[in-house]
Symmetry: C2
Subunit: 624 residues, 2 copies
């Protein structure tokens, strides 16, 4: 297999004239930076999850430790040197729609996308039959973290195309796969997902876009979709839109919705691009952030479309795309937290102001750097405790994403599928809530400078804000968790997960250094179990009790996942704590901070949840 | 006394051509609205705080219940009909600096300011000797809430002028007061506060702006100040800048800083405007929000200035201004929470999507309004529990602001001064942290639409964000609380406050309906006492323990204040619960929600605080 990503073009080849010099921190012109946390990523992949143990799985044998390291290093260069330098400028310039409906992305995006495409990044973990490199999904997630941290608006263009390709791969006919996937996976063509209409977001049963069969297997699609990320752009030659619509005469509600492939340019039999289809961008939304990604109103006007999957089963097909997208959004939350942390920490070490509370720390300077202050530390340590814990949890989940599809053992595949179903809403919601909160904290570290656009910190907040809203609001995720995922198959998923935690605690009970982590994990798991039982007992009486507790329940469950992640990381760090490398010592100190300062949230969530729906639902609607 | 505010010019007189029609919620062009919560304001003023009991204080006799009602109603009209309709447009347009250094505010601001000025609002509670109306400060705070909620960026122009006038009133000579105050109080002249320089924000001891005595009592001021809100504008004929600078040869550090009056235009002996002073706007900052307020870099170039207060005691004089400003910022947090809530609630009642969890609530419609969903309720009830509680607490504090200055009883004045000192950092910090969080929640209620600028919800978030940063970051407030206010006079302030709470509980222990509120209040007060004792015992050993717990301590103390506010409100509501007015019933239901869903934060803060500084300070700075 050709590991194209190991010899990508150098940034300078592609962005000459766009980014002439590496980013610098000047006194008058600050510029944010991003350095992928390679050491922490490799620690999780190699020491904690030990992915080399999975070399029996397809793709994993092609990714021994040194290759993984090399791929991550190349990804880090692309992220830090090519994508991040156009993050602030992209936010400032935004996308431009022209009168003919075409859209121009900000300066430098075309060149950066070319670097991304030619580096082969789009096909990293995709099926080799269609030109992908077939490497582990977990590796694609690690690379995805870098892209999202470096330039979230940019990362959404290939991210959405990848999601569309996954849906075609899962539900398309052989002919459809051959027709669309090679170009999508090569990064030559983009892709989008079209669900929302102005009057229907969450409640897709209300959608009105129509599909009229033409008798030749194709359909004419007519309707207007809103909030279509990457709906039109100048990065790729073609865009493959996936569009939810209702076939004439279909049943009402969600059971009458089908999914269609609607290419921007129709494709001739020889594979060349044909006529322009009736799919166009009517306008670009002005929004709070991700300005460099075009959020389009898409008009479908007798556009030619092709059914993807079965008639009236479009939602199922769309959810293939949606579930991966939700994980991707959770990752964006964590990624933004990381890049915001890096820039907040850099400022805290640099900014001289006041003196340490116990006396001057750097008396030879006019003032101490503000990192000497506990409250500044608190914000930065909150970040680390969250982001490092979340990285371990996210990558662990991604490994189950690999196992779910690639394991030869049916029981393993089943378990991993259960875990992925359970974890998806929790990761999406908790990591984005916290990603936003931590981006806000990093901005806070800069004081007044954090509010000034030039410093770049407010962009992280504005960009992070969308992650709590799109791909299903965080409230919808919480409802998915308590309404569907918890009780599915009699609660098999969470029961298996809790049993795994119990076993981990039992297996490691003689590890004295690990004891605080095992105690913390055991406690929060018990609190989550209590909450689960409370939900089981009280949701039956009044399902509003489940809804009322859903957000707190999700956060409580997330704390169990983080505690498990931290316990696994602590175990790996303890094994290397005498290596002389401070990384492992600092890992354990950060883990202790997690136990001290994040885990106490658990009791609060449990207490709130157990008050039920009564006071929440008491007021009549007209009193609001 | 002339109650000018009771006959203000009607909006239409002043804003014809700017805002032609009242705001409407259209399908394609949503527009936010603001309706001052008059009933809740009056409930707090009349039923809870019973301000009519204070008619022995100067100014209070002029404000019986019907006059208060009339003033609030006029304020509500100004806020809702004049200021709020230019809130979104002002954000979009922003301020413009011209080549000559002049600044134009957004369209409609001049006319709106004229309405504000001519209505006499600026002098509402100011000393009648200088043209003020001498009404209670608590009334000015209530009016200020409306202005901040309706248009925060607008409200900052008169707000800063008022702060500057207060400083001159407190520290100026008779001649200075006669020279500046009448025009400032009439709204003819603006005012600013100039502290920050690019290398010094919190640590004012580092400041470099110089003042050179001219031998005639005046000084030449030279230096550059940044982040000067309202630094230049086109609303007033003159601007009275208050500028911190160091007199040539002054001691280093904070003990060598003096405060100067630096008018934009010098004032002739006959009171007319004279020469343009060397104080000019060098640029306007591009920032995350409050776009309609000009945040200026101010260049002082041999500008003529006059010492305000004593040499080298400028910080003390500036803090007169700062303390009121901090209360004002806390109020902004609460105010933004209120207006964001109103628009989130309106959307939740209007947006049809999905069905209630226990079955259709409005089966005749294609879907139920999303307010039927517990998780949407959660966000809105969180708002109410916070905002209504905070209003009671803020107005109670404002009443102590009146008592501090106006009571004839020395013990009362002392107690109120103690309370104001204690409450200022807590109100500033907690109300802005929560104001931002709740603005974010209100945006969340709108789903994807919340992210689209047109809907106006993201402006509330972006505007609210500055309140956590300016007038001292919230971390600085927490340090002020634990480092200064707590132990001042042997802890007299908090001890008196806790004793007042104990007495309230004791006095009302036979009130069965009030029991849950008294229990909640007693518990959180005990938790706060425990935290206070922990701080006392552990800060001595290592002052970093105080810093490490400062943010959690502040939040915990705030929960006690909110619980006291809710207990007082519940008591008043219980007395009227059989009045047939649902307001009182809903007040009690909202209070119960506070007990269920906000008070559990207290245990979490206490647990975190008690882990101390160890894990927070463990990492070496270079590990960040």
């Amino acid at each position: 297999m050709l590991l194209r990503v190991l010899s990508p073009p150098r940034p300078g080849d592609y962005i000459a004239g766009v980014v002439d010099a590496p980013p610098t921190y000047g006194e008058t012109s600050p510029m944010t930076t991003y350095n992928a946390p390679l050491k922490d990523m490799q620690f999780v992949l190699n020491d904690v999850l030990q992915i080399s143990k999975y070399s029996n799985l397809p793709g994993f044998a092609d990714a021994p430790e040194d290759i993984v390291e090399a791929i991550l290093e190349e990804g880090a260069k692309l992220a830090g040197n090519v994508l991040h330098p156009i993050n602030q400028s992209g936010d400032k310039e935004g996308c431009t729609r022209h009168e003919d409906g075409s859209v121009t992305t900000p300066k430098g995006f075309k060149e950066a996308y070319a670097a991304y495409r030619e580096g082969g990044w789009q096909g990293l973990s995709f099926d080799p039959e269609y030109g992908g490199q077939g490497l582990p999904y977990i590796l694609a997630v690690a690379v995805g973290e870098m892209m999202s941290a470096a330039n979230m608006a940019f990362g959404m263009y290939p991210g959405l195309a990848r999601g569309a390709a996954d849906a075609i791969h899962a539900h398309g006919t052989d002919e459809q796969k051959q027709k669309y996937l090679p170009n999508m996976i090569a990064g030559e063509w983009g892709g989008t997902m079209n669900l929302t209409e102005s009057h229907c977001g969450t409640d897709l049963g209300l959608l009105r876009t129509k599909a009229i069969p033409q008798g030749d297997g194709s359909y004419k699609i007519t309707g207007t979709k809103i909030f279509i990320s990457a709906g039109e752009q100048d990065l790729t030659d073609n865009i493959i839109h996936l569009v939810l619509a209702r076939i004439e005469g279909a049943p009402e509600g969600v059971k009458g919705i089908s999914l269609f492939i609607v290419p921007k340019f129709l494709i001739n039999d020889d594979g060349s691009l044909g006529a322009r289809n009736g799919a166009s961008c009517g306008s670009i939304e002005e929004k709070m952030g991700i300005h460099a990604n075009s959020t389009c109103v898409m008009n479908y006007d007798d556009a030619t479309g092709y059914l993807l999957g079965d008639e009236h089963k479009g939602l199922r097909a769309m959810f293939t795309m949606m579930n991966e997208a939700r994980l991707g959004v959770g990752m964006q939350g964590m990624a933004i937290s990381e890049v915001a942390y890096q820039n907040g920490a850099a400022y805290a070490k640099d900014r001289l102001q006041g003196r340490g509370l116990t006396g001057p720390v750097e008396p030879e300077k006019p003032a101490d750097p503000i990192i000497v202050h506990p409250d500044v530390r608190r914000m930065l340590m909150d970040h680390r405790a969250f982001t490092e814990g979340a990285r371990g949890w996210m990558y662990w989940s991604a490994l189950h994403g690999d196992l779910q599809h690639k394991s030869e053992d049916e029981a393993t595949r089943q378990k991993s599928e259960d875990y992925m179903g359970l974890m998806t809403p929790i990761l999406k919601s908790y990591l984005t809530d916290k990603g936003y909160a931590h981006a806000t904290n990093a901005q806070q570290v800069l004081g007044g400078h954090g509010y000034i656009t030039e410093w770049g910190m407010d962009q992280f907040v504005r960009d992070a804000r969308i992650t709590m809203l799109y791909e299903g609001t965080n409230g919808i995720q919480a409802l998915d968790l308590v309404g569907r995922k918890l009780m599915k198959d009699g609660g098999r998923a969470w029961q298996t997960y809790f049993a795994e935690i119990d076993e981990f605690i039992k297996d490691n009970q003689d590890n004295e250094d690990l004891k605080p982590f095992l105690d913390g994990l055991g406690n929060v798991k018990e609190q989550t179990l209590e909450a689960t039982q409370w939900m089981g007992a009280n949701a039956m009486k009044d399902f509003n009790n489940a809804g009322a507790g859903s957000a707190d329940y999700l956060s409580l469950f997330a704390l169990t996942c983080l505690a498990y992640s931290w316990a696994m990381q602590a175990k790996a760090a303890i094994e290397k704590k005498d290596s002389g490398d401070d990384f492992y010592k600092n890992k354990l100190l950060t883990g202790q901070y997690f136990l001290d300062r994040m885990l106490p949230d658990a009791g609060m969530h449990l207490a709130k949840l157990k008050t039920g729906a009564k006071s929440m639902m008491a007021l009549p609607a007209e009193a609001f």
